[in-house]
Amino acid sequence: MAREYPWRRRAGWWLQNRRYLAFQLRELGGVVSAIYGLIFLNLLRTLRAGESAYTAFVDMMRTPPILYVNLVLFALLVWHAVTWFMLIGKSQPIQFTERPLPWRAVFGVNVLLWIGVSGAVVYLIFGGF
């Protein structure tokens, strides 16, 4: 007869508190990025195939219900990005100074950097407005 009582984790453990749920959504956002990786790959494939294939694919991505799926996935991507910036300062303490910078400072710098990089993408990759 067992004397110790064994532990079993509940299947829905990530619904147990808000932080676990935030974590699970962040992980999902990471997976979503790979889905968009495949979507971009297909975008390049249709670009190669010609205007009609390309336009058909882009139109499909913008037609409901896929449009709404896009919105949800986009929200997950943004959440993934924001949490990533929050965690960088914790996982790789930046040590320009004698003591590592607090993670909030690193988060702030990262968000500013994010805005800057996004602006650069708008101009360098997509040719501005």
């Binding site: 009582y5 532990w7 984790r9 932080r19 676990y20 974590f23 914790k90 996982s91 790789q92 004698e98």
Partner: protein
């Protein structure tokens, strides 16, 4: 503020009588200055002497009174009843560990994991040990945070990865590995990183981060593990690209 009651819903497990763990309710009086451990001691002294739990210092440094209070791993000596109860305080043994009796869990597993990262200063035997080893304040600062760990294992109870995978080396043992790796007196980084770069090592961690949330000493084991992943990857790359070079 006399005359107030609180219900303690405590998980009981008596291995000698068989059966599964089950809750038992105790209604006890409490004051605002009582912590959950005081409530358990009241039950033991006045209501039910068979209730079994660990405690020692009552001041948050011995690390033995951890339990899941209302589902969250806490030191019962540092958790005021007034802060956690909504009529009922639910006390479970620390999650993720096998239960020995009532609130007492088996943590042999943790101790052997801890031992596996050599949580002490490792020196080359040929070195000169007769001289004083000077350490500057900023060098102490580099490992001070992780050195505050009191081995209370709340981080293990909070870790869903450990909950699903008992082999996982887990938060505290990893944090203490980093504590010695960052110590300028230590020369054991290579053997620790070798231990951590295994199937049961740091790679299973998905940075849930709850270990650092529940840590009563702000050791931040979640961040420590990510730093260790970075160090282990750098060591791995060095060994791949420069096979002859020393690992550190």
């Amino acid at each position: 503020m006399a005359g107030r009651d609180v219900v303690f819903r405590v998980k009981r497990y008596r291995p000698e009588s068989g059966g599964k763990p089950a809750y038992q309710d105790y209604r006890i009086p409490y004051r605002d200055d009582m912590v959950v451990l005081d409530g358990l001691n009241y039950i033991k002294d006045h209501v039910d002497p068979t209730l079994t739990y660990r405690w020692s210092c009552r001041m948050g440094i011995c690390g033995s009174c951890g339990a899941n209070v209302n589902g969250t791993p806490r030191l019962t000596c540092g958790t005021y009843i007034r802060d956690v109860h909504k009529g009922t305080v639910t006390v479970d043994p620390l999650a993720n560990f096998p239960i020995l009796k009532d609130l007492v869990v088996d943590f042999d597993d943790f101790l052997t994991k801890l031992a596996s990262v050599t949580p002490y200063i490792v020196r080359e035997e040929s070195g000169d040990l007769s001289k004083e080893f000077v350490q500057y304040p900023e060098e102490v600062e580099a490992y001070r945070q992780q050195s505050l760990c009191i081995n209370c294992m709340l981080c293990y109870a909070a870790c869903p990865v450990f909950g699903a995978s008992p082999e996982f080396i887990g938060p505290a043992a990893s944090a203490l590995a980093l504590r010695y790796i960052r110590d300028t007196r230590d020369e054991g980084a290579d053997q620790r990183l070798a231990r951590l770069n295994t199937k049961s090592g740091i790679w299973e961690c998905t940075f849930v981060g709850e270990c650092s949330v529940v840590c009563p000493k702000d050791v931040d084991p979640a961040a420590a593990i990510q730093t260790l992943k970075f160090l282990a990857t750098m060591r791995h790359m060095r060994r791949l690209l420069m096979p002859g070079a020393p690992s550190r």
